[in-house]
Symmetry: C4
Subunit: 130 residues, 4 copies
């Protein structure tokens, strides 16, 4: 189904998140919800599955990827960069950035929970879309 025909679709096909840093450890409360993590929240409000290619950029070496994820039609995927495994895990405690390319329009929002200290800190922003 083409874009022009998909009234539910919203967003763009190419997104960038210039900020990236997975805190190397966690403290405070225990459990997956309280682990330090970086998330790309992907929304595919359209009627076709979104096939997303993620490339990770570093300060001092060639980019890694593509990492491939699918966001089914009319679903959201809150993707933890911590969980990306293939072709290689994203290094902890190191700067990175990312570009996300989808075959259908999606919306991307970036969030970090930093649990390195007893109390968590949060940040979030809609990513840059082209």
């Amino acid at each position: 189904m083409g874009d022009g025909e998909d009234a539910g679709a919203i967003g763009r096909r190419r997104w960038a998140i210039a900020e990236g840093y997975i805190p190397p450890f966690s403290s405070g409360k225990v459990g997956r919800a309280f682990e330090s993590h970086e998330t790309a929240c992907l929304l595919n409000a359209g009627a076709s599955d979104a096939h997303v290619r993620i490339t990770i950029y570093f300060p001092d070496r060639e980019p890694a990827g593509p990492y491939l994820v699918t966001v089914p039609a009319r679903r959201t995927l809150h993707l933890r960069f911590n969980d990306l495994a293939s072709p290689a895990p994203v290094p902890r405690g190191a700067d990175y950035a990312s570009v996300l390319e989808s075959d259908v329009p999606i919306v991307v929002q970036h969030t970090r929970l930093d649990a390195r200290q007893a109390e968590s800190a949060l940040l979030s922003t809609v990513a840059f879309a082209e």
Copy 2:
């Protein structure tokens, strides 16, 4: 009244918030102001009431909604997702995303107060507009 005639109106008619997560509990200070919550701040600066339809997207099932809210002309509504009740409450401690559609231009900003720990954490971003 059409857009072209409403000099006060600002914004867009279709917005998306890819991030959504209502922390499942609160601790620390007591009272509604300190409860964990997710808010969509809606501003209708125009001269006509805004009728807004909200659809909630999940990772693993069909979207819920529409949730219907009205933002009167020249008013702001700071809507807590926690308070949405019909057709069904938004689940706590679970990922979601949302699309907001209005019949007149509005501005949407997304904020979360996370009070799961003794000290609160905050995030905010202007939503994605199309």
Copy 3:
């Protein structure tokens, strides 16, 4: 000087911040830097002074304003909503939103320091521009 002739100018003339809430009290460290506050950071990178009109919107009554501020050419003004006094102070502990209108292009970013608890929380986002 017109826009077309001002190579330094960057931004837009009309901005909206849908989120607004001045925490009603502070705790923790003492001093103006640690007081709970909401700020609109205004950047005027151009060669002409910016005359800015701010209107404040509420959930349940007519908007207040205009509040008038000037951002000199090639200057930034980090304006605390707490400090707005005329025609009337912005109420504490209450929801509001704002529209900022300038006669030359400016950039607007919204920040809150919430010091109601022992440890501060921060949020920030670029405002919505039209």
Copy 4:
């Protein structure tokens, strides 16, 4: 290489961050990662190096700069304003704003870690692009 020929490039050439404040001290955990800092995260996903000129704006005096940085092709640079030295360090505990101009498209995201108290606070937003 021109833009039209660089399929990897994403972003814009002119960015502004209206918010700027380097907390004047740090407390809590020790180490560079936990020092209060303000960062401009720059992503150059294209095939040509990005030469970036940064100008810093103040409330009460002429702008400082240009500060010159290079982001190599297909790399990210998480630049701490704390580290800018030439032509002059950015003052601590004082309001500023910045404009970033690049010769090729880049993406800019703004982040602050505020470690003035025992627990850190975080903010982040994609900068304003023109």
